[in-house]
Amino acid sequence: MLIFYILLLFILIAAIIAVETKDLLSSVICIGAIGFGASIMFLFLRAPDIAMTQIVVEVLGLIILIRATIRRDLTFISGDREFFGTVVSVVIIFTIGLAGLTVFQSLQDFGNPIFANVPDAASQEYISQGLAKTGAENLVASIILDFRAYDTLGETTVLFTTIIGSLVILRREGRKTLEGPDQ
């Protein structure tokens, strides 16, 4: 349990640095640190496929973010801050935080999952019947591709649409006369 506190503290410090620093490159590197800490935390939370996916996705996300922020001449933002708008936003977020903390009283303790106390939960059937009904030894793969395959179909559609949208935004007509020398 101590390792969870240490990792969460590391993630929180990296998040505060990422939000408050003025240099964009430092924020991007702190995002990389958050993703790395989250991946190690997934390993300790007994979720190996999530840890594997998180670390490669975080590396690719770093490459995308650095592509956007490096070589742009404006990495320092200056200007006057609106005082009133900032204070109102912080007060509203604080209220949301207090309201959220009272919800956590009704959750179970950490380390006591919900499906252990409810005998007819869905996870009970997935664990006990997963190998018999699908033949896959990785229970997570049997859930995403056999018991709950519609969610995977929706995810494939969302990913496809997002990538096509990104290609449409970045398209540029008439590029062939403007290819300058590759510097």
């Binding site: 990422a18 959220g100 380390g111 009970q124 990104s166």
Partner: protein, 122 residues
């Protein structure tokens, strides 16, 4: 207490997405919120001293692939892991979309500041 720290991470991301004026800082705030939600979902399904939800050779008891009772009582919840697995890849796609919008806006207006973009009219 661990849930409260995770919620604090979500609040930090929300603060950055609402208050900041730099477009890349807004994108970073949204990414921090996504990381916090994934962490929270996996923490919900954790069992103290549990095993990963992969059936090994010693967990099969009985013919036809029935798992032993020990495995049923010590494995962590596989359902939140299945939900988060697809979410992480969608986060990467949405990050690519947001960054391509930021690059386009920077090309047209020359700045990442959202207050400047509001004032200029093309």
């Amino acid at each position: 207490m661990l849930y409260a720290l995770c919620f604090l991470l979500f609040m930090i991301g929300l603060y950055s997405a609402v208050v900041k004026k730099n477009m890349v800082k807004i994108v970073i705030g949204i990414m921090i919120m996504e990381y916090a939600v994934n962490l929270f979902l996996i923490m919900l399904g954790y069992r103290l001293g549990g095993k990963a939800p992969i059936v090994g050779e010693e967990d099969i008891a009985g013919a036809g692939g029935q798992v032993s009772d020990l495995f049923l009582n010590t494995s962590v919840d596989p359902l939140p892991q299945a939900l988060v697995l697809t979410t992480i890849v969608i986060c990467l796609g949405s990050l690519a979309l947001m960054i391509s919008i930021c690059i386009r806006v920077h090309e047209k207006y020359g700045t990442f500041d959202i207050t400047e973009i509001r004032r200029l009219k093309g």
